[in-house]
Every structure is written in C-alpha cells, then in structure tokens.
C-alpha cells in the first residue's frame, strides 16, 4: 500500500508540473470572453469556451442542442462559468490549469488532444481524446476527463428545457400566498 501511494504521488507531481508549464505558457494569451454577442462570462476565456462548445455535442450527443436550439451554447457556458466562479481556490486553480493546458496547441497535442483549434477538430479526434483521458493511467487525466464531463452534463440537465430528456416532468407548481 505504501508503494502505491508513493507512485500516485510521483504521477501527481509529474502531472502537476505539466499543468504548471501549461499555465505559465498561456498566461499571456488568456482573453476574457466578453465580446459582442457572447454572454458576460467571469471565469471562462474565449479559448475555454471553444473547448467546451467542441466537447458539448460529443458528450451530450442527440440531446444537444435540443429544444434550446440557438440558446443552448450561451445557457450552457453561462451556467458552467458561474459554477466555476463559486468553487474554492484550489479547485478553481486546477480547472484554470486544465483549461490552459487544453488551450495551448503544443501542450494539448502532447496530452492527446487535436493540434488544430478545438472549433475545427473532427468528431473522431474529440472522441479519441475523451476516451484516451477516460482510460488513462494518470490520475490527473482521469480527473480532468471526469471534471469536463461533469461540468457539461450537470449544467445541461439543470436547464428546465432539458428535463424531458431525463424523463422528468419537473417540480410541482407553487402558488405563493397573497400577502
């Protein structure tokens, strides 16, 4: 048991180092996403939103964009953004590093992602990337995969328009008392 804990620690450090490099590389290029018709986002950068919007149709398949249609992208991004914003410092930093790693074309190529931009990556390539991370021997990649999927699915299925995709007919209607 001791040996396995030590191995885990080594893998953790290695992963941490890779992510740190990623973070310092892209620190110069993080552009806040607040332009034109995109919603006001407090955490996600333009490159983060490209990643999430490339993953969403692969993670959610036929349920995306569903009845939300054109609104789907903005609703999903806004919900994810606000959730990350309320996370503790440690989790927020880890996600920042994950997004920065996957936002840098060089680093994401070595991490199994596409070398071209996420917005032009093929479905096959994104599928391969997700499967590679899901099955990885590195705890950091597995956790990264789990975190990305969680952020997307959770913030998708909280939207009332998507309840029926989960066979859920919603809560009772509340009629407040007259005061």
């Amino acid at each position: 048991m001791k040996a396995s804990r030590r191995d885990f620690f080594k893998v953790g450090l290695l992963g941490g180092a890779v992510l740190l490099v990623g973070s310092s590389l892209s620190a110069f290029t993080r552009v806040k996403s607040s332009k034109n018709n995109s919603p006001k986002l407090d955490f996600l950068s333009v490159s983060d939103t490209e990643l999430l919007l490339a993953l969403a149709p692969i993670v959610l398949k036929a349920n995306y964009p569903g009845s939300l249609e054109k609104e789907a992208e903005q609703r999903l991004l806004r919900a994810i953004d606000q959730q990350i914003l309320s996370l503790g410092e440690h989790s927020k930093k880890q996600l920042q590093q994950l997004f920065d790693l996957l936002g840098s074309s060089t680093l994401r190529y070595f991490a199994g992602g596409p070398s071209n931009d996420w917005s032009t990556a093929s479905t096959d390539h994104i599928e391969r990337f997700l499967d590679d991370w899901k099955h990885s021997l590195f705890a950091l990649k597995r956790t990264g995969y789990a975190a990305l999927c969680k952020l997307i699915t959770m913030n998708w299925y909280t939207q009332p328009e998507n309840f029926l995709q989960a066979g859920y007919s919603g809560p009772p209607k509340i009629y407040p008392p007259q005061e």
């Binding site: 396995s4 309320s86 410092e89 989790s91 899901k134 956790t143 969680k150 998507n162």
Partner: protein
C-alpha cells in the same frame, strides 16, 4: 404514492414575524464596523442552530454569524441549479484535493440542515463505545446520551416515516427477499407533503431544519443573526479569543471590502468540519500536537444503479425512508470497512454526474431515469488504523483544501459494497444493474455481475465517490495526543472557545449525522448555559 402537482398557501417565517425580520442583518447593510454580544456563535447549521436556541432561552445575548445567504421558503423553487448556487458550498462542486470525492455541504442560514434528506438516527452505541475507549471521551456513553436524543427528537418531530416511494421500496423488497434486516428511517418533518425536494430547501416548511425551528426561536429570544459574513480569523491573545474578524460577502458570493469586528466573552465555533478547522488554521490557534484538521471523515459513499420495467419516478417522494445496517457492524467496530445501505433521490443534474461518462450510453441512461433506482452504501471511515480520513490544509487565499488519500482499505470496502448493492437490487427484481464507475457496464443477472465486476479497476476518478457528511478535524476527547476539545467540547488550549458541531467527532458516526450533532450539542450547550448563567446573573 401520489405525485403532488401544486403547492398553495405556504407562508415564509422570515417575512411573517417582526422579531425575526428586525434581528436579521445582511452584513453588507450593517452600518457599524463592530458588534458585540454575550456569546458569538460562528455558523448556523445543526450545531450553531441548536446552541443558539438554548443559550438565547437562558437569557444570554447571542450573536449568530453565518457565511452564507439567508434563503427561506419563498426562495425554495425545487430547482437544482438555483438550489446548488444558493445553498451549497462551492455550488455543490466542493471536492477533495485530487478530485476523488465530491462533497455536498450547506452554505446558507441553517447550514446543511436546510439541504439534507432529513434522515435522523441516534449515534450508534459501538461508535460511542469506541470514542470512550480510544479517545477517552467522558460522559457520552449510550445511556448518558439517551435523554438528549429524546429531547431533540421531540424538538424536531423526529419519527419513522412510512410514506415510502418506489425508489426506497426497492431496498425494502430486496432486503426482504434476501432475508436481510431493514427498517424505516426516522425523519425530522412535520406535515410533510412527500414531495422529494428536501435537497433543494423545503418549500412547505415541513422539514424541521434549523431555519424554521431553533433559529427563529433564538431570534424571538433576542438573538441577532448576521449573515453573508465570513469569519476570517479569531483574534487570539493570552489563551483567549478576544474577537472575531468578519468580511461581508455580496449577493454574488464575492468578498467586499467591509470588515466587521465582533466581540463577546464567549465564542462557539459551529462552522462544520472543513470550514471550522480551516478557520482555526487561519487564526494560528494554539495546537501543540499539530492536530487541527486531522482525522476529517466523510462517510465516502458509492452508488449502484438498477433499471426496472416498472416506473420508479426517483424524483418524487421522501428521498430516504428505508435503510439497512446489515453490513455496517458485521465485522465488529474495527477491521474491514462496514457500510450502511440507503437510497438517493435522482434529479436530472445530480444523476447526470452519478451516471458518469459521456456520449450515447450516457444519453441512453439519462433517458431511462424514470425507470431507474439507485442505491448507496455509506462507508464508516475512521475506525481502523488504515482509515485516517482527510487532513485540512489552506490554499493561498485561506480557503480549505481537503486532502483525502483513497487507499486500498477504502477500495476494499467499496468493492464489497457494490456487490451487496447489486445483490439486493437483483433480488428486488431489477432487469439490469450498473455500478457508478467510469467503466461500469450494465449486467443482467447477479451471476454475470459478480463475474464481470472483477475486471473493474478501482482507483481515483474511476469510481464515483460522494460525501454528504463532513465530520471531524477538531477531535473530542481527553487524549490530548490526538484530541483538541475536551469531553464538554471546550477547546483544550483556549479558555473561552467551545466547538459545538460535527467537527468534534473523533471518527465518522456510521450513520447520517444530524441527530448526533443535535444531541451532543444540546447536552454541551445546556451545560454551558448553566455555567454562563451563574457567571452573568445580570443578563440571566
């Protein structure tokens, strides 16, 4: 079970009563920069709420300080997104350092009692015996505790629930088929509508959380509630807490520049495990054996899904009403991990996380949710040398990091728990069963499950592990090598600080902990109220 389609005529206690409105202050709107009282209570969950009522009734001027917002009946819309954002720590995204365990914990006036699933159990006797033997906890034997359990059961209307929904019926029927003992869960509800939204704030005031019971009562007895105020540090001088430094938070949960100093001769820490120990670390509280934040326990919990031909409608009805302790104490108190079997509700967003994975299989599983049941196994951590739990450290900005290394001892318990759950689910007539694991597949019989299951690797982020119970980090007992508070929950190294919440538990409880917190705090706060009443005859 009848599914309720509308709710009418429910009023909100926080807008109805004058005393409650008058003494409830948003920290942003407090004009002064200082505030004083006889007793400051930090945190308003199970521990803070219970002590506030007792101390206020004893005639002491109580000040409750809460980090989270004041959300009450009119805000509870049975909406996952709104509830997680308004009522949970880190919008329900709190997790351990390596991401291996997700943690659901409250962050609002009333704390986790506002969002728990109402299960109310007495502290198991083997747990209390173990504390006495291992940590030299005094005066908390099972017979010592009985009157306090009784008092809080009466206060919060705790009785076994019989309106069992389909999701819980699966556990009951599976146990019956296998000849495994099961029981009805006692719940703290009064006039419950059996809606199923306990985790999002009760919209009918039925749940007897601190929000609708002890806190309003304390306010009517002259207490003050300051909310959206995070205690940044305790000011400590000569073994005494001389004051409490708070920062006001705005409605978007962001820090403001407003600082408030609160002063009182007596301080009660009730911020819950994780946040309480983090505050002690930030305050450089005396801790000669470096024990603050150590032995933090989570009841790591794993899940198993089962699909049925019939409708389960796991969204509706009291979320938890049946349990089985068959596997909890089977191997004795120490030794291999024991676990309690219960059932979680399956609203879409939380289910989407628990199902794990992505793509077509995830979409197909989501589409079958109405025919899906889930079972959970709550693992009893902290009773073996191989189960030290988490330690709390601080991030650069002073927020807590929960470092819970998942070891072979834990994974051994997790593996056995999946097998038990699958056996019960198939016995109850499940068509297919799938463990909540990244690589878990659907199995069509218990035989095929047992065979196929052995190929699964159990490691960080492969298994879905959650926690809804945070305990420990400021252990109670006279054994000072590991304990920080004495058997009356007074901090060993400070003269005027008491810790009245679940962070004093030296192990996990082995069952949903709210009644354990209520009863222990009721006992300790009653004793403290008597002592302070004698010292301060003027305010009694």
């Amino acid at each position: 079970m009848k599914i309720v389609s509308e709710i009418r005529g429910i009023s909100d206690p926080y807008s109805a009563k004058k005393a409650i409105v008058k003494q409830t202050i948003n920290a942003n709107q407090l004009e002064a920069d200082d505030i004083s009282a006889d007793v400051i209570i930090i945190g308003t969950g199970a521990g803070g709420g219970t002590s506030a009522e007792i101390l206020a009734q004893a005639g002491l001027k109580v000040l409750m300080i809460e980090e989270g917002p004041l959300k009450s009946t009119r805000d509870f819309k049975m909406d996952e997104q709104k509830a997680y954002a308004d009522l949970y720590q880190e919008s329900a995204g709190r997790a351990t350092k390596d991401g291996g365990i997700g943690i659901l914990q409250g962050r609002c006036v009333g704390g986790t009692t506002v969002i728990n699933w109402t299960s109310s159990f007495r502290t198991p006797s083997p747990t209390l015996d173990y504390w006495q033997k291992t940590f030299q906890v005094q005066g908390c034997s099972h017979s010592d505790m009985i009157p306090w359990f009784e008092q809080m059961e009466k206060r919060l209307n705790i009785t076994p629930w019989h309106g069992v929904n389909e999701n819980n019926t699966v556990l009951k029927e599976g146990c019956e088929k296998l000849n495994i003992p099961w029981k009805a869960i006692p719940r703290n509800v009064k006039g419950c509508w059996n809606l199923g939204y306990c985790g999002m704030g009760c919209p009918t005031n039925a749940k007897q959380s601190m929000l609708v019971t002890t806190i309003p009562d304390a306010l009517e007895h002259g207490a003050t509630l300051l909310y959206q105020a995070r205690v940044e540090r305790l000011l400590i001088k000569n073994n005494k807490v001389t004051g409490v430094e708070c920062i006001a938070f705005d409605d978007d949960k962001q820090k403001t520049s407003k600082k408030i100093i609160a002063k009182a001769p007596y301080i009660i820490l009730a911020g819950g495990a994780i946040n309480g120990p983090a505050l002690m670390l930030r305050s450089n509280a005396p801790d000669p054996n470096k024990r603050i934040g150590k032995r933090t326990f989570l009841h790591p919990t794993v899940f198993s899904f089962a699909q049925f031909d019939k409708e389960i409608s796991p969204f509706y009805g009291a979320p938890q009403s049946i349990y089985s302790d068959h596997f909890q104490w089977k191997n004795g108190t120490t030794g291999p991990l024991g676990y309690k079997l219960e059932v979680p509700p399956l609203h879409p967003a939380i289910s989407s996380i628990m199902l794990m994975g992505h793509g077509n299989s995830h979409v197909a599983d989501m589409a079958k949710l109405n025919n899906t049941h889930a079972m959970l196994a709550l693992l009893r951590d902290g009773f073996d040398d191989d189960s030290e739990g988490a330690s709390i450290t601080l991030a650069d900005n002073g927020s807590p990091i929960v470092d819970y290394p998942m070891n072979d001892y834990l994974f051994d318990g997790i593996k056995r728990a999946y097998l038990s759950m699958a056996e019960v689910q198939f016995a109850a007539g499940a068509k297919k069963v799938r463990p909540a694991h990244q690589h878990g597949q659907w199995f069509e019989s218990y035989e095929s499950f047992k065979k196929g299951f052995t190929h699964l690797e159990h490691k960080v982020s492969n298994n879905l592990v959650g926690s809804a119970h945070v305990m420990g980090g400021l252990a109670m007992g006279e054994n000072k090598e590991v304990c920080l508070v004495d058997s009356h929950c007074k901090y060993h190294y400070l003269d005027n600080l008491w810790v009245f919440d679940g962070s004093v538990f030296p192990t996990s409880i082995g069952t949903n902990p709210q009644l354990s917190i209520y009863a222990l705090v009721c006992k300790q706060a009653t004793k403290l109220a008597k002592e302070l009443g004698k010292k301060q005859p003027s305010s009694a």
